[in-house]
Each structure stands twice: as C-alpha cells, then as structure tokens.
Subunit: 417 residues, 2 copies
C-alpha cells in the first residue's frame, strides 16, 4: 500500500517532467508567480497547519532549536515569497547552446542544456525547504518528489497543496510536485529504489541521513558530506588578517559546514600568532585543542588526540596544529580533511598558487574565510545544496547544477563511412 503510493507518485513525477522539459522560461516564471500569489493568499492556512506541527513538537518534547526551525509565521512566509521572486529573476539555464564545433565532414556539433528530469529531495525539519527546493527544480525544468521531515508534516502538506493549486493556475500537471505524506521511514527506502523514474536524489539534512541514502539508493545521489575545514596561517601571512579570518571562519556561525574546525600554523609565526589568536577565540567561548607544540606555546590549550584531526565539531571548538611548512599543511589537509573548504593565509604568491592547486577540496581559498562557500556568496543566485562529491557538481549548486546536457548535431544528410 505504502510502496504502491510512493511508486505511483514517482511515475507521476516522471510523466510530468516531460511537460516541464519543454516549458518556456515565461511559462515557468508564470508558475512561480502563481505559487507566490497562492502563498500570500493562504498565509492563515499555512500558519494554522504549522500550529499543529508546533503543538505536536512541543508534546514530543523536541528541543527549542528544532522548534524554532519549524516555525512558519507571516514574516517567514513573506521571506519565502521574496526567495521565489529572486528565483524568478535568475536566468533560465535550459535550452542554452554551447561548445559549438564543426567537423571536417561538415557536421555541426553543439551541446544544449536540458533539465535533469525528475528530482527527489529528502530533507529534514525546515518547512521552507519545501518551497525553496521545489521552486529551484521547477525553474530549471525539473519535476520534484519531496520527502520532508515528520515534524513538519502538516506544514509541508499545506505548502505542497498551494503549489498544486498554482500548477493548476498555470495550466501545468499537478504531478510536477509530489509529496510523500507519510511519516513512515519505509517510504524513504521505497523512494531510493525508483531509479526507473527518478533521475537524481538530493538529500538535505544530517550526515546520518545522507550516509543512509548514499548507502541504499539505486538512484544517483548528489550528496553533501562533512565539512572538516582548515585555515593554514603561513609564515608570510599578514597576522592581523590571519587572526580576522580564523576568528570569522570559526566563530561567525560555528554550526555550519563551512565553518573552520582546524587551524594550522607555520612554526615560524606560531609563537607570535597563536597567543593573541587563541585569546580572541577564547573570549568568544571557543574551546581550543592543540598538538604538543601548540600547548607549549599557549598552556591553556587542551591536548588534542588523534581523532580530533578527522572531526567536524559544528560547535565552538577548534584544534590547532603547528606545521613545519607548506608541504606539511597541504598533506595534513588532504589526509585528514573532508575536502569541503580550506584556506591559506599567506603573503607568498607561489605558496598561494601551490595551496590552491594541490589541496583537493570543493572550495580552496587564498586569504579569505572558508565561510564564503555558499551559492549566494558565489553569485549563483540560489543554492539547492553543496556537493562534496566529484561527479556532476562540486561545491555550491545552483540552477545550472540541476541540469544535464545533450549533444545536438546538425547535418546535411551525413552518413558514416
């Protein structure tokens, strides 16, 4: 019964994706405008549905932080509407022609950007993802199958109902957005096997959720791994800038994936740099762990153990290692890091160049905070997620990353000899 329902929705998404595949930009934007109109006219209904989720969450004793993520008030709904407006303004990647070559036999070979087709999104608490992610998929010509967190079930159902009304307003199939409206986890397992109908699954949530999906999906997955990010302060670094960057990368928002978890310091500047930097971090409430040398320079630093170098804390904790040189820094980052975002602070151009080339991470920085790894900060105008994979997309993903390509070949009756 549950399986049948999930498969039925996957088929519906696949069939509807064929209509979206050929939609003009004007028509897709009209759909997004219709979604906004419905969102604004249904504010009381959304808040009422959200209230049920909030009451259930309180009854279940869910933490205040999680409950705050669940809340949909008028302000947040209007923020969602503004987000949709931003997506309307973004250029539509679909249909773009590029890479033209003419072959000696006269064939003209080009690539055309096309939608991926049917995209599955599996996400947790925040109900705003329901609108944000759907709208990015729709603008890039993809139909979308949603599986949200159980805590937000009623809010998500209300938001999906609004999108289905808007699809009707825009004369498009209701199946362009399907939602799995059960809280049973088995539904996810069934969804992960719909490789016949879904072209990709993008999970958004905890590392536990993402690892489960990666390990059990026959649908290709674009996943967001951990962010064990490093800042390396080189011997030639401007130490004031280095301190600002380390402080920003660690403290500005410690719970996110692009926050720094490790600080590597060149031995030549360690005794000058570390005491001041450590004191500033300490004042912000950061717990500092370190290798022997770091502890010998700043005795208040706690000894780090071997597992620290692999850890993503997502908290006000940082581990410091004093390194011999650039080579040791690069090796350490490539070996212990998670290949997300890593930065060098240096005044030596050749060191910057080597770091940027040799560190194998989704985003590598010279003299800037790792906190910039983000679709908006990178100028993509939007973000469906951050990929730490190497296939298809790496780093922040916007509309273009929700597309594929096809080869388009013009001939004049050409046959192969």
């Amino acid at each position: 019964m549950l399986e049948e329902s999930v498969v039925h929705k996957a088929v519906s998404v696949k069939v509807s994706s064929g209509v979206l595949y050929n939609c003009t930009t004007v028509r897709k934007n009209a759909l997004l405008k219709a979604i906004n109109k419905r969102l604004l006219s249904e504010i009381p209904g959304i808040i009422a549905a959200n209230k049920i989720d909030l009451e259930n969450a309180e009854k279940a004793g869910i933490s205040k932080v999680l409950i705050d993520r669940l809340v949909l008030d008028e302000k947040r709904i209007r923020q969602m509407v503004e987000g949709v407006k931003d997506v309307i303004k973004l250029p539509d990647p679909v249909g773009k022609i590029f890479g033209r070559i003419k072959r000696p036999n006269g064939l003209v070979i080009q690539k055309m950007r096309v939608p991926l087709g049917a995209v599955g999104i599996i996400y947790e608490a925040r109900p705003n993802v329901t609108i944000d992610a759907s709208v990015l998929c729709l603008k890039s010509g993809n139909a979308v199958m949603l599986k949200g967190g159980s805590e937000a079930l009623h809010s998500n159902k209300a938001l999906v109902a609004i999108m289905k009304l808007a699809l009707k307003d825009a004369g498009l199939p209701a199946g362009c957005v399907e939602f799995i409206d059960t809280i049973e986890r088995e539904a996810v397992a069934v969804m992960l096997k719909q490789d016949k109908y879904l072209d990709v699954i993008i999970p958004r949530g905890s590392q536990q959720l993402i690892r489960y999906i990666q390990g059990n999906s026959s649908v290709p997955v674009i996943a967001h791994g951990e962010g064990n990010c490093h800042v390396f302060v080189d011997a030639s670094a401007n130490l004031k800038k280095a301190e600002d960057i380390v402080y920003n990368a660690k403290v500005q928002r410690p719970s996110v994936c692009n926050a720094a978890e490790k600080l590597l310091v060149h031995k030549k500047v360690a005794s000058k740099f570390l005491p001041k930097a450590a004191e500033r971090l300490r004042q912000a409430g950061v717990e500092i762990r370190g290798d022997e040398t770091a502890v010998s320079i700043v005795p208040s630093i706690k000894p780090a153990n071997d597992s620290d170098w692999y850890k993503e804390y997502l908290d006000l904790i940082i581990a410091v290692k004093i390194v011999e040189n650039l080579d040791e820094a690069i090796q350490h980052i490539n070996l212990f890091g998670s290949h997300h975002s890593d930065a060098i602070v240096t005044g030596t151009k050749s060191h910057s160049e080597r770091f940027l080339r040799e560190v194998d991470s989704a985003a590598v920085y010279s003299n800037a905070s790792t906190r910039f790894t983000d679709g908006f900060e990178f100028g993509l105008g939007a973000e469906i997620g951050i990929s730490t994979q190497k296939l298809h997309a790496r780093g922040p993903m916007g509309l273009v990353e929700l597309t594929s390509t096809k080869f388009v070949i013009h001939g004049k009756g050409n046959i192969r000899k």
Copy 2:
C-alpha cells in the same frame, strides 16, 4: 584473502592518485611515451602471454568472434601504440581555469579543472582496453584500478606489468595502475564497495554486466545503457537522403549501440518512401518488422509486436512505424526509446528545431546518421565510453569527462559579515 587483496589495491590506487593529481602535462606525457617504449620492446612477451589466453579460450570452446577480440598480434600492439600517441597529442584538461567572476566584496571566484582521483574500470574481453582506458585515465591525472575479463587474464597481466615498468621509468608510483589479477567474480563485488578509495567506476561491456554494477555499487557509476535508436523520416524529408541515412544507421555496423533499431515514417510519405527503403534494407539482409500500416504498404514486412518498440536488437533487424506527425514521432521516441541517439530527416527547419529540443536523448540529430555518436567522430580525440546517464557526463566521454572541478577563491583578507 581475496577481499584483502582488492582493498589493498584500492588503497594503493587512492594513495598514488595524490601524486598524479599534481603531475605536470610534460610528466604525464613522458609516462605515456615510456609506456609506448615498453610496449614496443615487449612485443614478443605480450604475444606469448596472449597465446596462453587464446589456447585456454579454444579449450573452453569460446566462439570465434570472441576469440578474434582476444587476439593480440604485432599489428594490434602497434595500433595500441598509435592510440597512445594520439592521447599524448591531446590537450591536458587538468589545471584549466574558467568561469571567473568578481563579487562585489572583491572576492575573485574561478573554477579549476582537476582529476577525479581514483577511477575503476571493469571491462570484458578485449585486452586493448587495458592500455586504452589506462592511458586516458593517466593523461587526465587519474590513477586507475582495472578488472578485466577472465578470458584475457594473461594478456592483461602482461600489459599491466609493462605499465608498471613504465611508471618506474617515469619516476611515478607503481600503484597508479592496479589490476585485479583473479578471475573470481567476487572480486568485482568487493571492488564495488570501495567508495572510500574509488571516486568512480566506469563499466565497459554487456548490458548484463553494467546492470549488475549499477545495482550493487556504492561507488558512483558512469554507465552506458542500451541504444534503442530511432530515425524519423518527416513528410518534408529529402527521401534519397533519408534512405541513405536509414541504410547507414542500420546496416553499416548493426552490432553497436548507435545503430538504428527503429524507423518512424510520416504517413504522408510512407507509401512513397517505404517500398524502396525496405527493398534496399532487405537486400542487405535486414529483417523488417512493422506496424499494421507498414505491413499494408510493404506486405513482406513482418508484423511487429508491442515489445519490439522497446528492443535493442544489435542485429540486422529494424522495426518500422508509420506516424501521424512530428508530435507522435517525438512522443514515441521519448516513451519507447532508450535516450541514446535519435535522428530526424526533414526539410522543415521548425520541425528540426522541435525534434532537437524535445527529444530527450544523449545525442539528437538533424539530417545525419545516428552512427556518429562516438568520441572520435565528435572531435573529443578519444573515448573512455558513452554515458547514457544524465549526471556528470552524457554522450561520448573523453578526457574532460574524466575530470572534476573545484572552486578557487582569491581574497584580500575577506571575512563574511
């Protein structure tokens, strides 16, 4: 024991990939030249190893076609050497910088092309793939883990030994090329679980092999699906050209994935086009199946059944359907096709444009044979395979498709507000 050996090789490939990641083009080309030198000096050794495989194959009663694929004589070894020379000449995609944007805060954000890392290739009979595929991986900065067919075991071992000597000549780790030298199928199962060490697996072989790999791999797979390719002859087609294209697409090499398996003909030209085209195909030994209308026009055509429209024959068989119009042709191809290569023959520009935009296949053709879907024909200079997936690469894959990207960000002490 077997598992330990496979995991050990996967680790070796991963570690070695770190060295290749930063190799200059000059150094990679020197490696390829060293491989060629060793191939030429070891011709007798390769032929002797190949002889063992050939004798075993004959004892096992393997078909003549398969045995022909196995043969390595001096001519074929010299062809392999020429192939390596071609790859030496190809531009190195690694390190290329593109997509530069400057943000209002002064950050300069670019993308850099980088190797994927560790590539697994699982393939069947032909031993030349051992060299061809390895050389493409090495040139694009990737280490490679090979699992060849059991029939070619001794030939493959000899070729891998040559590459390991060449790696030594070039001062690179022997682990840049690892080969699973067992014929036990369990080795493949173990290889498919090495997601910690392998970045991608590219299977080359039968649909059965590819489906097994897709269904059982925790490593991302780039797969080559079936080719149920169509040619649609529109009402405005130049019928002589249409006949040539259909004949070429079906007859020139019927056993390959880009050969046409289906012929759709606009009803307006069916009675004029079909009898001549059918007669020419028949003379080439092609069995023609068709829908009711096709049979009514050419009575020697056998009635097709429903399953025919889904089938990839890979043989001198074609099925013909008479369609009402362009819409029916596009719908039929998107519904029954395998999204590989599909062509329209038309004199109407708007029909060509609609077909190219609306048919959702890896390669779409206007007035040309589907047989051109090939890395060399598309000017990539090489081909590691053809992807029928939508993620990462779609269509023929060359060196660029063996790479990923990373974001490279230059700042001047930038921190996030």
